[in-house]
Symmetry: C2
Subunit: 307 residues, 2 copies
C-alpha cells in the first residue's frame, strides 16, 4: 500500500533506518538482529499514514514522520513478541524466518524492548511542545493505545479467546485493541500536532476504530486463504483456534460486513473532507483495503468452486 509520493516514501525509509542509532558498545548478536530488522521494514503503511495525517501543519512533517516511525517500531516489537513460541509459535514473518528462530528467543525479546524504548522516546518527544491540554490528550492517547486498554489488552484477549467460542463482540474487542490502536496513533497524533479541531479529532478517532475493524477483516481473510508466500507470514488462526471472523462467517458474509463498516467510514471521510480536502487519503485507505479483501474473497470463491 502506498499513500505517499516516491520522495516521501524514500524519506520514511531513510528515517526508519536512521532513527534507531546502534551504539558502538552493543552486544554483537543483538546488533546483528536489529540490523536485520531495520533492513526489512515491511510496508511502512503506518508511517505513511502518519505523514499524510500531519501534512497540513507548518513544520509538523518532521514530528509526524517521527510519530509514524515510532509506531512502526512499536508494531515491529509487537510482531516479534507475538511470533514467540509462547504466543503464536510462528516461523515466517515479512518473508523471512522469524527472529527467534535465527537469533533465539532471548535476543528477540531484547530486540523488541530496544525498539519499544526508542518508540516511546520518539512519541513522547514528538508531543512535548504541544500546549498543555493537547499534550495531556496526546499522552493519554499514547498510553491507552499501547497498554492494557489497547494493543496489550487486545493481544491478551486474542490469546484467551478460542475461535469456536468467540462471539461477534469478541472479534471487535480484539480488532479494536490489536489493530485499531496503532491506527489511532498514526491518524490522531499528527492531527493533534497540526492543531486539528475537536470535531476533526473526534471524527478521526471514529475513523481509526473503523479502519482497525476493516484491516482485521482483511487480515482474517489473509490468515485463512492467502498462502504464506503471498502473506509473508505463518498462518495461525485455524491451527491455534484464534478468533477469526472467517471461522464463523462465509467469505461473502464477511465481505458484506466489510462493506457495512466501509460505508460508515466513508461517511466520516466525507464529513472530514468538507472541512479540509486533505483528508481524502482516508478514502483511498479504505479503497485499498477493499481491493485486498475482494481479491481474497474471489480466491475463496474460486477455491470453493473447484472443490
Amino acid at each position: 500500500m502506498q499513500f505517499v509520493s516516491e520522495a516521501d516514501y524514500s524519506r520514511i525509509l531513510n528515517a526508519y533506518r536512521a532513527d534507531f542509532p546502534l551504539g558502538a558498545s552493543l552486544e554483537p548478536a543483538l546488533r546483528a538482529c536489529l540490523v536485520d530488522l531495520l533492513g526489512n521494514p515491511g510496508s511502512l503503511v503506518r508511517a505513511q499514514l502518519a505523514l499524510r495525517s500531519g501534512e497540513s501543519g507548518e513544520g509538523i512533517e518532521l514530528r509526524s514522520c517521527s510519530v509514524g516511525i515510532a509506531v512502526e517500531y512499536f508494531h515491529l516489537a509487537s510482531l516479534l513478541l507475538d511470533d514467540l513460541p509462547s504466543m503464536d509459535n510462528a516461523a515466517l514473518r515479512r518473508k523471512m524466518p522469524c527472529v527467534h528462530l535465527t537469533y533465539g528467543e532471548a535476543t528477540a525479546t531484547l530486540a523488541s524492548l530496544a525498539l519499544l524504548n526508542r518508540a516511546y522516546a520518539m512519541l513522547y518527544e514528538a508531543i512535548e511542545d504541544l500546549p498543555g491540554a493537547a499534550r495531556a490528550e496526546a499522552r493519554k492517547l499514547i498510553e491507552e493505545c499501547l497498554g492494557v486498554g489497547g494493543i496489550v489488552g487486545g493481544q491478551a484477549w486474542d490469546l484467551a479467546l478460542t475461535g469456536s467460542g468467540a462471539g461477534p463482540q469478541d472479534y471487535i474487542k480484539v480488532a479494536l485493541g490489536k489493530t485499531a490502536s496503532l491506527f489511532q496513533l498514526v491518524l490522531v497524533l499528527p492531527a493533534l500536532l497540526t492543531g486539528a479541531s475537536r470535531r476533526e479529532l473526534h471524527q478521526l478517532r471514529r475513523f481509526a476504530l473503523l479502519s482497525g475493524l476493516l484491516y482485521q477483516i482483511v487480515d482474517d481473510l489473509k490468515d485463512l486463504y492467502a498462502t504464506p508466500q503471498q502473506s509473508g507470514k505463518t498462518a495461525r488462526d485455524l491451527e491455534l483456534e484464534r478468533p477469526n471472523l472467517l471461522l464463523q462467517l462465509s467469505a461473502t458474509d464477511a465481505m458484506s460486513r466489510f462493506e457495512r463498516f466501509q460505508r460508515i467510514a466513508l461517511k466520516i471521510v466525507a464529513a472530514l473532507e468538507q472541512r479540509n480536502s486533505r483528508w481524502s487519503f482516508l478514502g483511498e485507505l479504505t479503497g485499498e483495503m477493499r481491493r485486498r479483501a475482494a481479491a481474497l474473497v474471489e480466491r475463496v470463491n474460486t477455491l470453493e468452486a473447484a472443490a
Copy 2:
C-alpha cells in the same frame, strides 16, 4: 533496606498499588497476574531513593514519587522477562513462584509490556514541565538507561558472556547496564526536577554508576551464597555460567573490591554533602550495601571453615 520514614514508605506503597489502574475490560488472566504482582512489591528501594533524591524541591515530591514508582514498574518488568525460560529459566522470585509458572509465558510477557507502558508514561509525564535544556537532558537519560545503552544492553551482555570467559571489564559492563541504569534514573531524574546544579548532577551520575557496581557485588554474592529462602529468588549464575565476580575472585578479594569502590563513592558523597546536607542518605545507602556484603562474606568464610 529502608531509607524513608514510615509515613513516606506507606505513601510509596500506596502509590505502587494505585498508580497502575486496571481497566474494567481487562482480560481476566492478565488482570489476575497484575493484581498478584502489585500485591508483592519487593523492597521498593528504588522508589525510596527517588523520594529522597527529590526531597528538597518545593512540590517536587509527587513527581519524584512518580519517577520512583515508574522505575519500580520497569524493574519488575525486567525481572519477569529475565526469569523466562529463554533467559534465566527461574522458578522463584520475591519468594513466590515466577509469574510464567503461574500464568504462562505469554501472560508474563504481556504483563511486563503493560508495566513498561505505564512506566514510560509516568517518566515522560514527570519531566514534561522542565525547562527545555533540562528536559532534553532528562529525556536522553531515560532513553539511555532503559535501552541498548542501559538495561537492555546490559542484559544482552549478561546472556552473551559466560562466567569462565568473562574478564573484569565484562563484569563492569554488565553491572553498569543492568544495575546502575536504574540507580541513575532514581537518583538523577528527581535531582533534575529539584533544579540541582550541573556539578551536583555530574557527581550524582558518578555516584549512581558506583552504586550499581556495589549493588552488583552484593547480588553476585547473594546468587552464589544466599539460600533461595534468604534471597527469595532462584540462583542462576553457577548453573548458567553467567558473569559472576565470585567465580573469579575469592569472597575476601571481592570484599576488597567493594571497599575500594565504596571509598570512591563516599568521597563523592562528602563533596555533595558540602553543598547540601540532604545528600547524606547516599552514604547510608553504601553503608547498608556494605552490611549485606559483609554478612554474606562472613557466611562464605564460615562455610569454608566448616568444609
